[in-house]
C-alpha cells in the first residue's frame, strides 16, 4: 500500500517543479497561434495558445507591430467558434493586443453583432472591447446601443457601459456628456455596483458645473446609497462641495457636516474612515467638529488590520501638523504603534508623537526611538531625523538630549542622504540655538574623523571655518581639521587647508601655529592643496606673528565672490586665451531669470549646509554694491529702495528684458536686465533709449551701455534720471532697446566683424507712489500707533465705487500704497461686509508711516473706505492721502 503513496508524492514534486510555461518562447508561441487559422477549430487548443500569449504579455514581453497584427488577424477568426470559454478568451486577447485604427475594422462587425446579441454576457463583453479599441467615428455609430446598455436590466451590461463611459470621457467627452440622462437613471439603480459606477461617471460629466454637483450631493445625501464604495465617492464629492461653498458661516453650522458625522456610524470601515478623513480636512475645522472624527481614528489605531492602522495614523499625522492638541488624546495608542511590525506605521506614529509630544515627554520618546531606529530603512530614518529637528527647534531647552541622539545616529551605518539629513539638522540647530553650538561643532568634528562622504567632509570643514573661530576656545578644533590633511583625499585636504587658514585669519593668537601647519602642506602631492597653502601663507600677513589680518585680505580670501557661479562659468567658457587677461569685472552679476517652477523647487526645505549662495547675498546689498561700483552713480547717495524686476518683454521673445527701479533721494536709476535668446546673434553696444516726455519732473543725466551681450549670458545697461530731492515724483517712460547685432557662426561660435544697428520696442514703465515706500512691518501695530503723535494723524473718507469684492478692494489699496500689511489683516474673511486693514512702511526720507484702513460695503458692490494715517511728519500723512485720492 505504501508504494502508490510514494509514487503519488513523487509525481507531485515533479509537478511542482515543472511550470507549464517552462522554456516558453515568443517565436514558438507565435507559430502555435497558426492553429487559429485551422478550418476545424479546436477550442481547447486555441484557449491554451491564448493563455500562453497572455502569459508572455503579462511577463512584460512586447510584440512587434507585424507580430501583433498577425496574431490579431488570426484571433479574429476565432469568432467563428461558438465555444463560450474561447469567446471569453478572444475578448481579452483583443483588448490586450489593442489593434491600430486601420485593423479595428476587421473585428467591428463581429463585435457589433455580439453587442446586440440576446446573450447578455456577449453584450457586456463586446461593449468593453469595442470601447477599448474604438475611435470617435465608430463611437457615434454605436452610441445608441451604449445608451441603451447603461439602463440595461442586467447589471453587468450596465456596469460595462458605465465603466466604458468613464474611459471614453477622456477621449470623446462631447459624446459621453450626451448620456447624462441615462447615467442619472443608473444612479438610482438597485444594483450596488451599477450605482457606484454611475455615480463616478455622472460626477465626472458634471464636475465643472458646481451647481449640478451641489444638487447631486444634496439629493444623494438624503437618499440611500447602496454600496460602501459609492458612499465613499459621495463623501469625497460632499467635501468638495463644502470646500467650494462660500456659505461657511461662522456659527459652525457647516452644510453637510451632519451627513459626514452620520457616516462615522456607518457599518463599513471604509466609509467611516473616509468620513473621518473628510472631516479632518475641512477648511478651518473646529475642535468640536474634529472630536468625533478623532475618536473613530483612535479606535482604528488599535485595529487588527494593518491597513486601518496605517490609514488612521497617516491621517492623524496630518492633523497633528495643524491641530496637535486634538491628537494628544491618541498618544498612548500611538506609542504602542512604535513597535508595530509594519515600519511605515511605526514611522508615522513616531513622527506624529514628535509633533504632539510636550517638553516633559521628550526624553521618554527619545528612548523609544533609539531602539526603533536600528531596524528601519534609511528613507524612514530621514523622516524621523527631520521630525526631531523640528522638535528641537520647538523645545530648545531639550537640545542636549536631542543633539546627543543625532550624534549617536551619526556614528551608525547609513547612506549619504541619511547622513546628510543628520548633518543638516545639527547645522540648523547650531545656527538657531546658541547653547547647542559648541557641542554640535564637536559632534561634527568627530564625524569627519570617520566620514566616508567627501561632500559632507568638505561642507563640514567649510562650516567649521565659519563658526569655529567664533567659539570660546577655537584651538580645540585645529587637531580635527589638521588630521584631515593627513588622512583624506585631495578634495578634503584642500578644504581643510582653507579652514585652517580661516582660523589663522580670524584668531590672531592661533596664527603662528596655523602657519606651522600650513607650511607642512606645501609639500602635499596635490597641486590644489599646495597652491592654497602657498596663497594663504603669502597673504595672511605677519609671517606667522601674532598680528591682525587686514579686512581687505579677509574679504579677498574668504569674502563671497559676489558673482553668480553660473555666470562666471559661462564667461570663462566664452573667454578665448589671448593677450588680454580675463577680467572678472566683465562677468554679469545679474542672476539669470529662471522659469518660476524651477525657481520654486530648491529651497523648499531649509538646508543646513549646501553650497554658498549662488546669487548675490541679499538683493538690496547686492544692488547697492553694484550701483556704487559704477562711477556715474557713485555720488547719488544712499539707495532707498529697489523694486522687484518688472518685465518689459513677453515670455519667449528674442530678447528678454526686465527693469529694476532704484530709488535714491534725488535720483532714479533704471537697471535693464537683458538676455539675448538667439544663439546666432551677438549684440553689442546695447542701450535703452528712454522717452520721459510723460514724466515731467525727471531729467536724464546718465546712461551706461552694455558693451556686449552674447547668447544666454545676461547683462545690464543703466539709465539714470534726476528728480526733485525728496519728492515722490511719478511718471511714465517709454523704452526702446538699441544695439548693434552681429551674426554668429554656430559651428565656430565666432561673430562676424560687421554688425547692423537695430532697435527693439519694449513695454512702458511707470514710476508710481508705491516706489517711494519701503515695506517695513511692526510687531505690535496698536503699540506703534499709540506711540505715534496723534497730531500728525490725517483721516478722511473715500468712495471706491463698485468693486468685485471687498478683498479685491483691500488688495488694490495695499498695492497702491506699497506698504506692509500687519497682523494678517490683508486677509478678508469670506462674506464679511466690513474689514479693517493695518499697514506699515517707511516713506522716502526715512519717515515711518502707519495706516489704518476701514472698509465697508455700501450697497451690493460699492466699497467705502476710511483712511487714517499717522506718521512722523504730517506732510507725509498728507502725501499718503494724495496718493489714495489720485489713485
Amino acid at each position: 500500500m505504501a508504494q502508490p503513496l510514494v509514487k503519488k508524492d513523487d509525481d507531485r514534486d515533479d509537478e511542482a517543479d515543472c511550470s507549464p510555461f517552462l522554456g516558453i518562447e515568443k517565436g514558438a508561441v507565435l507559430q502555435e497561434a497558426r492553429v487559429f487559422n485551422d478550418p476545424q477549430l479546436d477550442p481547447r487548443r486555441c484557449s491554451q495558445v491564448i493563455t500562453k500569449l497572455l502569459y508572455l504579455l503579462n511577463q512584460g514581453e512586447t510584440f512587434t507591430k507585424v507580430e501583433a497584427t498577425e496574431v490579431f488577424f488570426a484571433v479574429t477568426k476565432l469568432f467563428q467558434s461558438k465555444d463560450i470559454g474561447l469567446r471569453r478568451m478572444v475578448y481579452v486577447m483583443i483588448k490586450e493586443l489593442s489593434p491600430s485604427a486601420d485593423e479595428v475594422i476587421i473585428v467591428t462587425s463581429s463585435l457589433m453583432k455580439d453587442m446586440t446579441s440576446k446573450t447578455d454576457m456577449y453584450r457586456a463583453n463586446a461593449i468593453r472591447v469595442l470601447c477599448r479599441i474604438t475611435d470617435g467615428t465608430l463611437l457615434t455609430q454605436i452610441e445608441r446601443y451604449l445608451k441603451q446598455a447603461i439602463v440595461d436590466k442586467n447589471p453587468v451590461v450596465a456596469s460595462a457601459a458605465l465603466v466604458s463611459g468613464i474611459h471614453l470621457l477622456q477621449t470623446n467627452p462631447e459624446i459621453v456628456k450626451r448620456w447624462s440622462n441615462e447615467v442619472q437613471e443608473a444612479v438610482q439603480s438597485r444594483a450596488a455596483l451599477v450605482q457606484f459606477h454611475a455615480l463616478a461617471l455622472l460626477h465626472q460629466i458634471r464636475q465643472n458645473d458646481r451647481l449640478a454637483v451641489n444638487k447631486l450631493v444634496s439629493s444623494l445625501t438624503k437618499g440611500s446609497v447602496r454600496s460602501p464604495l459609492a458612499q465613499c465617492l459621495l463623501i469625497r464629492y460632499t467635501s468638495q462641495v463644502i470646500r467650494e461653498s462660500a456659505n461657511n458661516n461662522q456659527a459652525g453650522d457647516r452644510p453637510f457636516y451632519d451627513f459626514l458625522e452620520g457616516c462615522l456610524r456607518h457599518k463599513a470601515e471604509m466609509v467611516i474612515f473616509e468620513a473621518a478623513r473628510a472631516i479632518t480636512e475641512l477648511n478651518g475645522v473646529t475642535s468640536r467638529e474634529l472630536t468625533p472624527a478623532i475618536t473613530v481614528l483612535q479606535l482604528f489605531l488599535s485595529s487588527s488590520k494593518p491597513v486601518l492602522r496605517f490609514a488612521a495614523v497617516r491621517t492623524l499625522n496630518k492633523v497633528a501638523m495643524t491641530h496637535p492638541m486634538a491628537v494628544t488624546n491618541c498618544n498612548i495608542d500611538m506609542e504602542s504603534l512604535i513597535s508595530d511590525q509594519n515600519r511605515s506605521i511605526a514611522t508615522l506614529a513616531i513622527t506624529t508623537l514628535l509633533k504632539t509630544g510636550n517638553e516633559s515627554s521628550v526624553d521618554r520618546l527619545m528612548k523609544q526611538i533609539t531602539n526603533f531606529m536600528s531596524d528601519i530603512a534609511d528613507e524612514f530614518k530621514i523622516v524621523v531625523v527631520e521630525a526631531i529637528r523640528s522638535l528641537c527647534l520647538k523645545f530648545p531647552l531639550k537640545h542636549r538630549s536631542l543633539m546627543n541622539f543625532l550624534s549617536n545616529i551619526l556614528r551608525e551605518e547609513g547612506g549619504f542622504e541619511y547622513k546628510k539629513a543628520i548633518v543638516d539638522s545639527i547645522v540648523i540647530l547650531i545656527r538657531d540655538i546658541p547653547e547647542a553650538k559648541e557641542s554640535g561643532l564637536l559632534h561634527l568634528c568627530e564625524f569627519i574623523e570617520d566620514c566616508e562622504f567627501t561632500y559632507l567632509s568638505t561642507q563640514i570643514l567649510h562650516f567649521l571655518g565659519i563658526e569655529g573661530p567664533k567659539t570660546s576656545d577655537p584651538s580645540k578644533y585645529i587637531r580635527y581639521i589638521y588630521n584631515r590633511v593627513h588622512l583624506e583625499n585631495a578634495t578634503v585636504r584642500a578644504g581643510a587647508v582653507s579652514t585652517l587658514a580661516k582660523f589663522g585669519a580670524m584668531v590672531d593668537t592661533l596664527k603662528p601655529r596655523v602657519f606651522v601647519l600650513l607650511r607642512r602642506c606645501l609639500f602635499d602631492n596635490d597641486d590644489e592643496v599646495r597652491d592654497r597653502a602657498t596663497l594663504y601663507l603669502n597673504t595672511l600677513g605677519g609671517d606667522g606673528e601674532v598680528v591682525e589680518t587686514g579686512e581687505d585680505v579677509k574679504e579677498f580670501l574668504f569674502g563671497s565672490l559676489d558673482i553668480p557661479l553660473v555666470n562666471l562659468e559661462n564667461s570663462l567658457k566664452n573667454y578665448e586665451p589671448s593677450e588680454e587677461a580675463f577680467d572678472i569685472n566683465s562677468v554679469p552679476k545679474e542672476v539669470k531669470t529662471q522659469p518660476l517652477a524651477e525657481k520654486k523647487a530648491p529651497g523648499k526645505k531649509p538646508t543646513g549646509l549646501g553650497a554658498p549662495p549662488a546669487g548675490p547675498p541679499s538683493t538690496v546689498d547686492a544692488y547697492e554694491k553694484l550701483l556704487s561700483s559704477i562711477p556715474e552713480f557713485a555720488n547719488f547717495g544712499k539707495l532707498f529702495k529697489s523694486s522687484a524686476p518688472v518685465e518689459l518683454t513677453e515670455a519667449e521673445t528674442e530678447y528678454a528684458v526686465n527693469v529694476v527701479k532704484h530709488i535714491f533721494d534725488g535720483h532714479v536709476v533704471f537697471q535693464y536686465n537683458c538676455t539675448n535668446t538667439i544663439p546666432e546673434q551677438l549684440l553689442e553696444n546695447v542701450t535703452v533709449i528712454v522717452d520721459a516726455s510723460e514724466a515731467e519732473e525727471f531729467a536724464e543725466v546718465a546712461s551706461k551701455p552694455l558693451r556686449s551681450l552674447p547668447y544666454d549670458s545676461p547683462g545690464q545697461t543703466f539709465v539714470a534720471f534726476e528728480k526733485p530731492e525728496g519728492v515722490p515724483a511719478i511718471g511714465k517712460f517709454s523704452n526702446m532697446l538699441r544695439f548693434i547685432v552681429k551674426e554668429v557662426d554656430p559651428s565656430t561660435g565666432e561673430a562676424e566683424d560687421d554688425g547692423v544697428e537695430d532697435e527693439y520696442q519694449l513695454e512702458e514703465l511707470e514710476v508710481v507712489a508705491a516706489d517711494y515706500m519701503l515695506k517695513v512691518g511692526v510687531s505690535n501695530f496698536r503699540n506703534a500707533w499709540e506711540t505715534m503723535d496723534a497730531d500728525c494723524e490725517r483721516a478722511d473718507e473715500y468712495g471706491l465705487g463698485p468693486r468685485e469684492s471687498l478683498a479685491e478692494a483691500v488688495n488694490a489699496v495695499i498695492n497702491l500704497l506699497g506698504m506692509q500689511p500687519c497682523e494678517g489683516t490683508e486677509v478678508v474673511p469670506n462674506n464679511s461686509r466690513s474689514h479693517t486693514c493695518l499697514l506699515s512702511g517707511v516713506y522716502i526720507g526715512n519717515v515711518k508711516v502707519l495706516v489704518r484702513l476701514q472698509f465697508g460695503l455700501d450697497g451690493p458692490k460699492d466699497v467705502a473706505m476710511k483712511l487714517a494715517v499717522r506718521s512722523e511728519d504730517e506732510a507725509v500723512s498728507d502725501a499718503i492721502h494724495e496718493i489714495v485720492a489720485s489713485g
Binding site: 512584460g60 447578455d120 456577449y122 473616509e274 496605517f310
Partner: protein
C-alpha cells in the same frame, strides 16, 4: 486609478504584471521596487494578511496567498483602504479559481482563468466587479445569479 497589479512567486519572479497608466520606462522600476518590498517584509506573514506602504503619493497594499505574493498599487481615489478592497476581491477570486490557496504550479495551471478573472475585476485601472461568485460566473460568460 489602480496603477498596477502584480503577482510574483516566492523567489520574486513575476507571474502576472498588469500596469495601467504607468509609462513603459517606469515599469521595470516598479517591478523591482515591489519585489524588494515583498522580500523585505513578507517573510512569515500569514496568508491574506495585508501589508501597506506608501511611496510618494502612491499607495501599495500587498499580501501572501499560498506560494504567490500579490501587490496592488494605486493613487488618488485608490488609497490604502480602496486598495485593501481591491486586493480582497483579487485574492478571494484567485482562491476561488484555484479551489484552495494556490501553489505556484496551481496558479500557472489556472493561468488563463486567472487572467480572465483579473479582467473582470479591474478594467484599465478601475474596479469593475467585486463579488467572487459573480466573477466566477462572468468568466464563464454566465449572467450573475442576482439578476
Amino acid at each position: 486609478m489602480i496603477l498596477a497589479v502584480l503577482f510574483a512567486n516566492s523567489e520574486g519572479n513575476i507571474l502576472v504584471e498588469r500596469f495601467n497608466g504607468v509609462p513603459a520606462e517606469e515599469r521595470l522600476h516598479w517591478r523591482s521596487f515591489l519585489v524588494k518590498l515583498g522580500a523585505d517584509n513578507l517573510k512569515g506573514v500569514k496568508n491574506e494578511e495585508l501589508l501597506v506602504a506608501s511611496h510618494k503619493s502612491v499607495y501599495i497594499v500587498y499580501t501572501v496567498l499560498g506560494d504567490v505574493s500579490v501587490y496592488v498599487v494605486g493613487k488618488d481615489e485608490y488609497d490604502e483602504l480602496a486598495l485593501a478592497e481591491v486586493i480582497f476581491v483579487i485574492t478571494s477570486a484567485v482562491k476561488d479559481v484555484c479551489g484552495k490557496l494556490p501553489t505556484e504550479r496551481l496558479f500557472l495551471d489556472k493561468y488563463g482563468r486567472i487572467c480572465l478573472t483579473l479582467d473582470e475585476i479591474i478594467w484599465k485601472g478601475y474596479l469593475e466587479n467585486t463579488d467572487k461568485d459573480r466573477i466566477r460566473r462572468l468568466v464563464r460568460l454566465k449572467p450573475p445569479t442576482e439578476f
